[in-house]
Amino acid sequence: MGYKKPIEQLDERHLVSEGTTFAQVTEIVSRVTEQKAPRLWWILFGISTSVTGVLGLTIGYLLWTGIGVWGNNSPVAWAWDITNFVWWIGIGHAGTLISAVLYLFRQYWRTAINRFSEAMTIFAVICALMFPTIHAGRPWFLYFSLPIPNQMNMWPNFKSPLLWDVFAVSTYFTVSLLFWYVGLVPDFATLRDRAKNKFRKWIYGFVALGWRGSNRHWSNYERAYLILAALSTPLVLSVHSVVSFDFATSVEPGWHTTIFPPYFVAGAVFSGFAMVMTLLIIARTVYGLHDLVRIRHLELMNKIMLTTGSLVGYAYAMEFFIAWYSGNPYERFVFINRAMGDYWWAYWSMITCNVISPQLFWFKKLRTNIPVMFIVSIVINVGMWFERFVIIVTSLHHDYLPSAWGNFSPTIFDILTYVGSLGLFFTAFLLFLRWLPMIAIAEVKMVMPQADPHLGHGDEEHGEDHHDDATAVPAMAEE
């Protein structure tokens, strides 16, 4: 890794605003954790902790009374809870995609946004894990799903996709947390070295593990980081594939399709990028990160949203086609029912938000316009929630025999748990912004022109310094 001069013929520019020094990067990122939080932070924090409190009360009431307080009932036994689970897990996926997949593809513009989106992954997975835990009804028996001896002398059924989910999601959470922490260690060292008071020095010093920027360490560190990226890439694809198996391996019309794994993964990346965009625009504006997170970064993210949004649109169309082509009357009915049945409004909201709204990003004017991308990112998140709702509820409410049909409507507790999970997410995220370096300081420095040891002088006399150009950082093209 390292820095490569932007190729002028390709109209490339630097990843960080020109003239920015290493010390400025340190300062811009670290000062957020050192100064008093801005008033807006306190307002948002107040709101989100209050909402988290509501979540706590709701869950308390739910556990006391039973999950009958939710609207789920036969035949719609999975409703908002599983919708929220899949929605949150999907949001988490963009973090891993940005930190791992873009790393392997040497897309170095990721350095500005990876810390941020990895944090988002962790908090989103925490919110996601909450829902199946509560939905199981008696969370204190959750250890039944683990391969440990229990009083029934039985082992878990490893042929169940729900059990695969337990392994997939908990592995995903653990690996994301490790990846995030490894990335944070050098930046913790920066905060430790800047710390003015003893308490800060002690805390950040403790988590920095005594990091001293040693190149002997960097050598192993970079290798471990590369391996983690290589592990996370198939992992992230597997997680949403396994989540989709929960549906695809059932014999429910509308669920039993082979397109589900890729379709779920594309949707996950799509919604995750939208959530990163929403959060990033707020943080960039509040904390003045314009030199590190440039319009160009946002534009590239919008292009990814356009791509994944169109992939999702293709999947919607293909599902319909296969439902007709299969010749299965139940399958046909479920899809016609989706578009024109009781929940037509959810289906068409989904199409409008997920397929039509990202098409705005074909136009450069719109994909470089901050208010437009902010609104579209929120619209996409709404749309992706509707997607999961449509898949889950419309398939269940009218499946085979009309005598077994039913309808679903949420109760106030469905709504409070969902809104409450947003509160939990934002509380965690705001604490992250306040106390941890929200941009990967060391990684941003690495892609700056001054990071190149061969910059400007003295190169001719050291003919033995080999540059492996295949691994050098490609600079970013800018029209």
């Binding site: 060292a189 005594g210 300081i441 910059l455």
Partner: protein, 193 residues
């Protein structure tokens, strides 16, 4: 310049040198200095940078990292453990007949085998890396220097330890001063009497 910011070095005559610390302003300077130290044949020395400098492993003459081998072993362990666990639990110890499926069936074991492979490999990568690097280690002579605080900001350092067989108060200092550092200091500790 030597021994000015060391721990109370001036008052106590009984000090023992720990390492020389040279500071550089740019990545290029420290890169070329590292090549000189490498060519001079030192072994117990290190380069300290705020970010990994491209090509520095070669400039220091380091061998390839061994982390990948740990990951390989851990990954194979994870995969085997998952297979044996599921075979024993569902296929041997207490087969459950659900949906008429056989107790032991490889296709349904793939997801869990994959997840445990990834999980243990990730543990191997992170804890293996920390183990090889001997971290956490909160005590190190470089932290005695006040200037070293900028190592995680925008300065670059080379440290040569006194434990190195070639270490010599005069020669090592001369070598470092010949590599255009912005500052050279000797870090010592007090010897208890």
């Amino acid at each position: 310049m030597a021994s000015e910011s060391q721990k109370k070095g001036a008052q106590s005559p009984e000090t023992r040198p720990l390492l020389f610390l040279a500071e550089y302003e740019t990545a290029g300077d420290v890169f070329h200095a590292a090549e000189h130290v490498r060519d001079a044949g030192y072994e117990k020395w290190d380069v300290h940078t705020p970010f990994p400098v491209h090509g520095m492993d070669k400039a220091m003459g380091l061998k390839d990292s061994k982390v990948a081998w740990i990951v390989l072993v851990m990954g194979l362990t994870g995969c085997t453990t998952a297979f044996l666990m599921m075979w024993w639990m569902n296929g041997h110890d207490y087969p459950l007949v659900i949906g008429g499926k056989p107790g032991f069936s490889l296709p349904s074991m793939i997801p869990v085998m994959f997840e445990l492979t990834v999980l243990l490999s990730a543990f191997g990568a992170v804890f293996g890396m920390l183990g090889i690097n001997q971290l956490p280690k909160h005590w190190h002579p470089v932290f005695f220097s006040d200037r070293f605080e900028r190592c995680s900001d925008d300065r670059f350092f080379i440290s040569i330890e006194a434990a190195d067989p070639k270490f010599d108060l005069e020669e090592t200092k001369a070598l470092l001063e010949g590599t255009h550092p912005s500052h050279v200091e000797l870090i010592s500790e007090e010897v208890e009497q």
